[in-house]
């Protein structure tokens, strides 16, 4: 699960990293879908672990996820991890998954609304050398594995997959439940497990900016779409002009 800035504008620091401290954070919407999918899949004896990487203050937000029904919460937090690109992020998540697992299934959101790369699930799967099915909007257990409904550009693919896998979920596929009385009570006695780079046996060169294989060289705050074209209030003219523009595109 990734915490993303709740505001619709962001600031960057001198190294072009999104400033996360001091801004209010919320869970990424697609990741909430992933957690709810996990909670629905778990049988009476299943265990759902939530794993995030971010600032130490996320501990409280993770506690809330325990109250919503997660059984374990793990937070990777270390200054050295800051500025990680998707590869360095996947490397950290892989190490944490191996340390806290084994898991039968790893669910992620298909992309985050801040970075919007959608690359971490695939890189994580490759790092763990397991399958990855992306853009899933529904999933269920079968006798031999999982049945997954994957939304593509032009339709929905129904897939069956066997073996451990990473699944990335679409936004709004499942709505995350509210905290329940029982899980709230259970959550009280639980603590969030904290992992640092040392706990994960990651060297400084493998973490954060240093462990990244892409480098942001410039970042400009701008709206590339800003056009400020002329405004017309005469609606007959409007119709004529729109028709002309349509004809240009499809002669």
């Amino acid at each position: 699960m990734k915490a993303v800035p709740a505001a619709s504008t962001v600031e960057v620091d001198g190294e072009y990293r999104l400033k996360r401290e001091g801004t209010s954070l919320q869970w990424n919407i697609a990741d909430e879908s992933a957690l709810e999918a996990a909670l629905r899949l778990k049988d009476g004896d299943g265990i759902v672990t939530v794993l995030t990487m971010g600032p130490a203050k996320l501990e409280a937000a993770l506690k809330e996820l325990l109250a919503r029904g997660a059984d374990r919460a793990v937070l990777i937090t270390d200054r050295r991890m800051a500025g990680a690109d998707t590869r360095a992020t996947a490397a950290a998540l892989k190490a944490a998954a191996e340390k806290t697992g084994p898991f039968d299934l790893i669910l992620c959101g298909r992309r985050a609304i801040d970075g919007e790369t959608g690359q971490v699930p695939g890189e994580l799967a490759a790092a763990l050398d397991i399958l990855c099915v992306s853009n899933v909007e529904r999933l269920e257990k079968t006798e031999t594995g999982m049945r997954l409904f994957r939304r593509t550009e032009n339709g929905v693919q129904e897939l069956e997959a066997a073996g451990p896998l990473v699944v990335s979920m679409c936004e709004y596929a499942y709505h995350l439940r509210l905290p329940g009385i029982l899980s709230m009570r259970r959550a009280k006695s639980k603590t969030v497990e904290i992992l640092t780079a040392d706990d994960l046996e990651l060297k400084t060169g493998e973490c954060g900016l240093k462990g990244s294989l892409t480098k942001v060289i410039t970042m400009e705050a701008k709206y590339p779409g800003l056009r400020k074209g002329p405004k017309e209030t005469d609606l007959s003219k409007a119709t004529e002009q729109i028709q002309a523009m349509l004809r240009e595109v499809r002669p």
Binding site: L131, T152, G229, K231, T239, I242
Partner: protein, 305 residues
């Protein structure tokens, strides 16, 4: 100039091939489906590798690609940012120890380096990115570049056996969305927002879209209100589109929506509120009731049928 490899195993992306042709000065290697050799040739590809089908096990596909790419010696690898390639490229990047940039909207060469530009955080930031790895990889937003046909380069066509079937992932069925072309491929998109006001209103937009062969899109609020299905949602939590013409009807222009459409070639906004933010992002703004304009357009379209 450095050779560029473009992976299009799910269908040729002419715009991307054209851009790669220009950046590599004709040093273009591609992987396409069998039967698309001529299309690839038309965009100037020099080496055309073909496979018969794309396997449902995308992890195995990525593994196969990694071996092939090493044997071809490619150091710049591009793919269209389709749903499938956005799953395959990260797995491939990991295996090749390569940096990967998602969903680029501009590419340039600086010597041997590929400069990758992509919007982040709802298009409010444009980041320019360089890879630090030997192999440089990026996915490119479909529709970003215009296709430019080239004189044939007398390409070498190399049929490949493709990855072995692993049986780990099977496709049981595929249900196509009604209404034809995916939004990411539509030349014209008509998008409705809360201003359209009802499901009936959206039916009018759908009717006009179908007359025009256009795609129908919607804002999140309109999807939430049940006017249109979720797959029509454009924006940070929906799809990103860049058609030649985007007509925003009764959409206010929230940043989360702009993120999904502000790369369109031309934008028309129809909104009754002259202060609506969408006008700032439109090439042509029409201030007034959407229904009056759409009814007239429908009428004209039906007359010409």
């Amino acid at each position: 100039m450095k050779e560029i490899l473009v992976l299009c195993p799910h269908g040729v992306d002419g715009g991307l091939l054209s851009k790669a042709y220009a950046l590599s000065e004709g040093n273009l290697r591609v992987l396409v489906l069998e039967g698309e050799e001529q299309t690839a040739e038309g965009y100037g590809a020099k080496y055309i590798h073909t496979i018969k089908t794309t396997p449902p096990d995308e992890a195995a596909f990525a593994g196969w690609l990694a071996e092939k790419i090493q044997s071809w010696g490619s150091t710049i690898v591009l793919a269209p940012a389709t749903i499938a390639m956005r799953n395959i490229m990260p797995m491939l990047a990991w295996k090749l120890n390569a940096g990967l940039t998602a969903d680029c909207t501009a590419l340039d060469m600086a010597g041997e380096d590929l400069l990758q530009t992509r919007p982040a955080f709802g298009n409010s930031l444009m980041a320019s990115i360089r890879s630090l790895s030997t192999i440089q990889m990026a996915t490119v937003r479909p529709g970003t570049f215009r296709p430019v046909e080239q004189k044939a380069n007398e390409p070498e066509i190399i049929p490949e056996s493709g990855p072995a079937e692993t049986g780990k992932v099977r496709e049981l069925s595929f249900t196509e969305f009604a209404g034809g072309k995916p939004l990411s491929q539509a030349d014209v998109i008509i998008a409705g927002g809360m201003g359209v006001g009802s499901k009936e209103g959206f039916e009018k937009l759908a009717k006009l879209a179908s007359h025009l062969g256009a795609g129908l899109a919607a804002s999140r609020s309109a999807v939430d209100a049940g006017y249109a299905p979720f797959r029509c949602q454009v924006g940070v939590t929906g799809v990103t589109v860049c058609p030649r013409l985007y007509i925003a009807v009764g959409i206010s222009g929230a940043v989360q929506h702009l993120a999904g459409m502000s790369g369109s070639e031309k934008v028309i906004a129809i909104n009754s509120d002259p202060k609506a933010p969408i006008f700032g992002y439109a090439d042509y703004g029409y201030v007034g009731d959407w229904e009056t304009i759409i009814d007239r357009l429908l009428h004209l379209e039906e007359e010409t049928l």
